[in-house]
């Protein structure tokens, strides 16, 4: 396509980050038959990328664009719209704390201060050992369980400051029974 015809390769290899694996490509291709256009498979494709790499690297975004035959700018468009897509490496576990009104009323501010103090990082930062990143989210849609905190895929409800040590030390605090991208069950 026209946007592939010009390839100046001005970005050094080292800044492109990792690319997507053959297995991930296969998985993305499985989605093509489910939609009228390849472009429509962009969201599941980006979830697959994040599952594999941990974030949407520059190289991966270009590769997804190529695979879906859409301009790289269209990939960036979607990546930048959704806060769950990351364009730079993140910690192994991402803590997402709800900052909407119900959670605030129920003590989210205190939880936030405690997390930042325990990990020594601010918002959108990652601990030096690469274990944790921290962000706040507009709403996690679970007001009845406020304040709530997601660790990667898993939701923790009615979180109190004293729960944090357990959540931070539990190796399985982020595990769902199956990864989110598998929820889009591609036809076999």
């Amino acid at each position: 396509m026209s946007w592939q015809a010009i390839d100046r390769r001005t970005v050094p290899e080292s800044e492109l980050g990792p690319g997507i694996s053959q297995a991930a490509r296969e998985k993305i291709r499985h989605f093509f038959s489910r939609y009228p256009t390849k472009r429509a498979a962009l969201l599941p494709a980006l979830h697959i990328v994040q599952d594999q790499i941990g974030y949407c690297s520059l190289r991966a975004m270009r590769e997804v664009a190529e695979l879906l035959e859409i301009p790289p700018a269209a990939v960036m468009d979607v990546v930048s719209f959704y806060t769950m897509f990351w364009t730079h490496p993140r910690g192994r576990k991402v803590l997402m704390l709800c900052r909407s009104i119900s959670c605030q009323v129920m003590g989210a501010d205190k939880v936030q201060a405690a997390i930042q103090q325990k990990l020594g990082i601010g918002e959108h930062q990652t601990t030096p050992d690469g274990q944790f990143s921290f962000v706040t989210e507009e709403c996690l849609a679970a007001c009845d369980h406020a304040p709530c905190l997601m660790v990667n895929e898993k939701m923790h409800k009615r979180v109190r400051v004293e729960d944090l040590d357990r959540i931070l030390s539990d190796p399985d605090s982020d595990k769902l029974d199956l990864p989110r991208s598998d929820l889009y069950d591609a036809p076999k």
Binding site: S2, W3, A5, V11, L58, P71, P72, A73, D77, F81
Partner: protein, 890 residues
């Protein structure tokens, strides 16, 4: 629906499909807009064009509300004015306080704000960061961007490049050019269309970013790069080109340009431009005065002519200069020196096309106009890569394909257009005749051809049918590598859609079977009944800005001005009446023959006007040998090119923006070229140099200027140019044939009947090229161009285009690269039976395994040391497109 509506009390007619805004613009009522561009679909984002419609409670956006009968529209009520004030103030509040002071005045947003806005009462955002100036030509200052999306829309709807996207959401949305958000890394082809659209100056040309004074002068002329012939508006001040823009109303380009036409103009002011005549002396160059130079050159020419006769002289007219210059040079050699040894560089590009179409239809030029691209029912692109070599036409074809016009690409490489094609027939280089015969066979056998057209207007169908009966599609598949199924499908699509538009390039003509490639391609045009119909016909894309005109003017050894035959006594008589001397009737030598004769010592003097055969012609070592052997080599040049370095005297010529005259483009359109700046130093226009040489040789040439020369051309070849005169060429010029002053010019040739009477179908078999792959030379090498550079690069290498592409790349398939242990970006040696070149490897699956593709823009590459000495026996066009080669990493 069409009808009438009332806008601000005026009754306005509207046509089917028009919006309220369209109707208002046509009437001269100005409705402010920020996000609507000419020829672009409405975006409907800025809301400035809101109007009141009587009987409707809410306001309507004029840009996308269809006009309908009886509407009563008000465009400037107090309610609307208040709305516009607030909208503009809100837009401004999103930017830093000094944002719009940074942009130069005269941008649309600043103008609208002055007219409709009011002091911003919403506060303002903090100052934005630094602008992105990573690209050599384009700068993006996000602090000035108002998210109107015009850049995105023009990029998609005109250029078809899809560079732009938006990032973020809500109030944080901003324009971006992809994941890396750096201009120089994006897919941008620097056509510059977004700069023309940008209403605030957020997008700006870097080439004029430092220019403080506004342009003092705007001159309309024609681009000096490829044969598309885009009309340009040259803004200049202090005798320097400041900026080049497309002429919005131009028929050829509708305001659009490419990176070469718009930006690559710095060579005009390059410090190594030639400013004085140079005489070779003691191995060096001695600058001399014009009078001396003319006297020296004419004395040597006259001496060689007197001593060795007319056969010892030859001339190459320039496809880069004007019609008037080419006409004068061939006239000089045909009259004063009584020789037809006159040729031009069309010999080494489209001579096969001109000859083939001439034989098949009676005229060697395109039968079509560019407007046929938008009317076509199916487009076939064969052996041409227009998105790189003819970018404005490439963009128009791409847009047609995006709109759904079926596209069939026939090319060994997966060129950009192949990605948009319904079918890509990736044939082996040089096997065109076999493939076209296969397609013709299916058209005939399945009775998909236009039988009435063939029986009434064409000859040769029985012979062709008979010959193609002996050909099997399995043979076609074996030779071309294109599956029989694909051949059949392509033919069926052509047959079903007929008539079709057939676009071709040098991939057909630069072969030992070049002429026959074009003839068999033209068979497809005839069988589908395409020639002479709107939206259909043959469209060869010409290479240089005036290669069409150069051949038209008689820059060829066997035909004189207007393709008139030299053995026609009526023609010779007419020319004798006008020229005072009768040109000889024996045919002269072609460029390859002249070079052979020079190498053999038979041609003693060569006059080369603005051409660089030492770099551009194949089998380079032989060419250089020939040029070194002649006793006199005269060159007109802008720079000391590889050829000029071998000359005895170099005459400094004026560049494309420094002279007056005409260029003729690939759709036979003669357009006016006007000077925007003065030539540097003592450089002179080619026509004047040739006139002065003729006068010094004793000829009574009193031309006062190009207009007078054109009047003579009209008399010399009345059937094509009889009605052409400078006073009729303003605007879009005239498409020949134009036989008299009342004739409007010709959009479509062969309308009622073929120029030659009957169209001729050609029956010919495929013959393999003498260049064959072997154990020692296992690859087939093709040569060609990239977007950023023009041919031998004399002009583009002296511009910031170098920052976009700084070397010749050899494209190689990754499978072959693995076997040869070649890495991407590695310097490699390319060898053939003829010589050796060096280039940088570029691994890509755009070339098939077993094929290589090399560009020839940089002299240090010596691409033409590798190409063969073979040429088409009919046209003498060299075989640049097939050379057996080997590669090795360095």
């Amino acid at each position: 629906m069409s009808g009438r509506l009332t806008i601000d009390g005026r009754v306005v007619e509207f046509a089917q499909g028009e919006t309220i805004l369209d109707a208002a613009v046509r009437t001269g009522v100005e409705i402010p807009t920020l996000c609507k561009g000419d020829h672009l679909k409405p975006e409907g984002g800025c809301r400035l064009c809101m109007v009141e419609v009587e009987g409707r409670r809410r306001l309507e956006a004029a840009c996308h509300t269809p006009a309908s009968n009886g509407l009563v529209v008000h465009t400037a009520t107090p309610r609307l004015q208040a709305l516009r004030r607030d909208l503009l103030a809100l837009v401004q509040s999103e930017h830093g306080p000094s944002a719009f002071q940074r942009a130069s005045d005269g941008h649309k947003f600043q103008r609208l704000f002055a007219e409709h806005g009011r002091p911003n009462h919403f506060g303002s955002a903090s100052e934005a960061g630094k602008a992105d100036d990573s690209h050599p030509y384009l700068r993006f200052d996000a602090g000035l961007c108002v998210n109107c999306r015009l850049c995105l829309n023009v990029c998609e709807q005109v250029q078809g490049q899809f560079v732009w996207g938006t990032v973020g959401r809500g109030g944080n949305v901003r324009m971006a050019y992809g994941p890396n958000e750096r201009f120089d890394d994006g897919p941008c082809v620097a056509c510059g269309a977004c700069v023309d659209q940008c209403p605030t100056g957020a997008l700006f040309d870097l080439d004029r970013a430092t220019v403080i004074a506004p342009a003092a002068k705007a001159t309309d002329s024609v681009c000096g790069y490829c044969g598309v012939g885009c009309r340009v508006r040259i803004e200049s001040a202090d005798n320097r080109v400041q900026r080049i823009a497309g002429v919005p109303e131009a028929s050829v380009n509708r305001g659009h340009l490419c990176v070469k036409g718009r930006y690559a103009h710095a060579h005009h002011h390059s410090p190594d431009r030639l400013t004085q005549p140079l005489l070779r002396e003691n191995g060096g160059w001695k600058p001399i005065r014009w009078e001396e130079a003319i006297a020296w050159a004419t004395a040597r020419l006259a001496e060689i002519h007197a001593k060795h006769g007319p056969h010892a002289l030859g001339a190459m007219t320039s496809s880069r200069s004007t019609n008037e210059a080419a006409y004068l040079l061939q006239k000089l050699f045909r009259t004063r020196f009584a020789t037809n040894n006159v040729d031009c560089c069309a010999r080494v590009c489209h001579s096969s096309t001109a000859l083939a179409l001439g034989i098949a239809t009676g005229t060697g030029a395109a039968s079509t106009s560019y407007d046929d691209i938008e009317r076509a029912r199916l487009i076939v692109v064969a052996g041409a890569n227009p998105t790189e070599a003819h970018p404005v036409i490439g963009a128009r074809i791409k847009q047609a394909a995006l709109r759904g016009t079926p596209l069939i690409v026939i090319d060994p490489r997966r060129i950009e257009l192949a990605e948009y094609a319904h079918l890509h027939l990736a044939l082996r280089a040089g096997t065109n005749v076999q493939l076209f015969n296969g397609l013709a066979k299916v058209l005939i056998e399945e009775r998909l051809f236009e039988s009435e057209y063939i029986t009434q207007r064409c000859a040769g169908i029985d012979e062709l049918r008979g010959r193609l009966e002996r050909l099997s599609l399995d043979d076609v598949e074996r030779v071309t590598g294109v599956s029989a199924r694909l051949v059949r499908e392509a033919a069926r699509r052509m047959g079903a859609a007929r008539p079709c538009l057939f676009v071709s390039g040098l991939g057909l003509s630069e072969l030992t079977q070049g002429t026959e490639s074009v003839m068999t391609f033209c068979n497809l045009g005839l069988l589908t009944g395409s020639l002479g119909k709107p939206g259909a016909g043959m469209m060869p894309l010409r290479g240089q800005n005036n290669v069409q005109g150069n051949a038209d003017m008689g820059g060829m050894p066997d035909r004189v001005t207007g393709y008139q035959k030299l053995d026609d006594p009526a023609v010779l008589e007419r020319l004798e009446r006008i020229w005072g001397k009768r040109p000889p009737s024996w045919p002269g030598k072609t460029i390859p023959d002249m070079l052979d004769a020079a190498a053999a010592g038979e041609i003693k003097a060569l006059y080369i006007q603005g051409e660089d055969p030492a770099q551009s012609d194949p089998n380079q070592s032989h060419v250089i040998q020939a040029l070194q052997r002649v006793e006199l080599l005269i060159a007109h040049e802008l720079f000391l090119s590889e050829t000029a370095k071998l000359a005895h005297i170099v005459l400094p010529a004026a560049g494309v923006f420094e002279q007056e005259g005409t260029f003729t483009n690939a759709e036979r359109r003669i357009q006016l070229v006007q000077p925007a700046v003065d030539p540097p130093g003592e450089a002179r226009p080619d026509w004047r140099i040739i006139r002065d040489v003729a006068i010094a040789l004793g000829e009574q040439w009193n031309y006062s200027g190009p207009a007078e020369i054109m009047d003579e051309i009209a008399k010399a070849a009345p059937s094509l140019f009889g009605g052409v005169s400078f006073d009729r060429l303003a605007g879009d010029g005239i498409q020949w044939p134009c036989p008299d002053r009342n004739h409007p010019g010709t959009r479509t040739v062969h309308g009622e009947r073929f120029v030659s009477g009957k169209g001729k179908l050609t029956s010919v078999d495929y013959r393999p090229s003498p260049e064959k792959v072997s154990g020692e030379f296992p690859y087939l090498l093709m040569t060609g161009r990239v977007l950023e550079h023009y041919n031998v690069g004399t002009m583009t290498r002296r511009t910031p285009n170098r920052a976009l592409a700084d070397f010749d790349a050899l494209e190689i398939n990754p499978t072959d690269a693995r076997r040869e242990r070649v890495r991407d970006g590695q310097r490699i040696r390319v060898r053939s039976r003829w010589g050796e070149a060096q280039a940088i490897a570029r691994l890509t699956d755009r070339v098939a395994a077993g094929s290589l593709f090399l560009t020839f823009h940089f002299p240090e590459t010596h691409a033409n040391l590798v190409t063969s000495a073979y040429n088409d026996p009919l046209s003498k066009c060299p075989e640049y497109k097939v050379t057996a080669a080997a590669i090795a990493a360095m």
